[in-house]
Symmetry: C2
Subunit: 201 residues, 2 copies
DNA sequence: GTCTATAGCCTGATAGAC
DNA sequence: GTCTATCAGGCTATAGAC
């Protein structure tokens, strides 16, 4: 009974810490984030925070690895057996919605990568690279079959990442320039036009 | 005579500090950068560094404001009297070359903006916004004249920023995924295809 | 103008009471 | 499991000798 209660508290605190860490790391990057901020955001004391994780590095690593799977899910869904252009468009829209609904996740990775990805470089070179290679193979097949414009499949994927994540990572600039809340509906119309035109064989 | 010599030393040190600060701030962001790093990169002692600038904030601010003009130059060149598609393509290629030749500048701003642009938000809301508004006016005119596809001009500009700066800001990811040095020639071919297809009326 | 030395603060992490 | 108290180290910035 006591053990169940304890476990429930632990799970709740784990979740609080995770949310707080995502908030703070995505806003300030690894170096800019402080344990004080994370602890107070989670409603815990700093030593209590370090009871659950041994170090700042461990918290950051836990958040990154847990979210990487979520973050790469849309690309995994690109289906070899679907219609090329509709499959790519679906990926674009899914990524755009991810930028809208999960901006903290986007900025978490953006912060890490723009500073040279010191803590996830090896994952990028293995997991991400293998996933992209598999999808590049599919794209090359579609191009060979004449169902897609003759474009570099790597740069196509990079373009989708940059165009969609821009609305999350550089949102403050988008809002500063337009003077309005970022319109993801407008972005969707724009990207739909862009990729339909560009991908047609 | 002594004054001339002194001034020459000052100018040299100013230049050394500027280069070092750009190096360090662009690699680690404001919070991640340390005066120790900047001083040793510049070949100066830390107190000597602070003889030239009163604070870390002042160094960062000096670098940002000095580079902002350079950074926005390509957009300023967009010429109302030129051919719409060639003018936009020229801007795209100029921005891509800027990402290739000035990656530190790109990352300096990326670091600042991804963390909410606390130190340059007001500039984004005034100078950058006014510049973009002027160019949006030109783009709208071209669209009205039927010389350009009916697209949202703001999102067109955002797309150029994100697609080109991606190769500088997320270079480590591009290299991790492709396993090679980033090919700006390939990127140029890709972007040329993309914008010609997309912009045709 | 440039240095050594150091103040004063903040940060990550630990000790030990409860 | 959670707290208060605290340490050791790194940080920005300053004082003062030369």
């Amino acid at each position: 009974m006591t053990e169940y209660a304890t476990t429930r508290i632990q799970r709740k605190n784990q979740a609080l810490i995770f949310e707080a860490a995502l908030d703070v790391f995505s806003s300030f990057g690894f170096r800019g984030a402080t344990l004080d901020q994370i602890a107070s955001t989670a409603g815990l004391s700093k030593p209590n925070l370090l009871y659950y994780y041994p170090s700042k590095e461990a918290i950051h690593s836990a958040v990154l690895t847990k979210l990487l799977h979520t973050w790469l899910a849309p690309l995994r869904e690109l289906d070899e057996n679907g219609d090329p252009i509709e499959e790519i468009l679906l990926y674009v829209i899914n990524k755009l919605h991810a930028a809208r609904d999960l901006p903290r996740e986007s900025r978490l990775f953006a912060n890490e990568i723009v500073q040279g990805a010191p803590r996830i470089k090896s994952i990028l070179e293995t997991d991400l690279r293998h996933l992209v290679e598999d999808k590049v193979r599919i794209l090359r097949k579609w191009i060979k079959q004449g169902r897609l414009a003759k474009i570099d499949p790597y740069h196509l994927i990079f373009s989708i990442w940059s165009l969609t994540q821009h609305y999350a990572d550089f949102d403050v600039q988008v809002q500063a320039v337009t003077g309005q809340e970022t319109s993801f509906d407008e972005a969707e119309v724009f990207l739909n036009h862009l990729y339909r035109r560009m991908l047609a064989p």
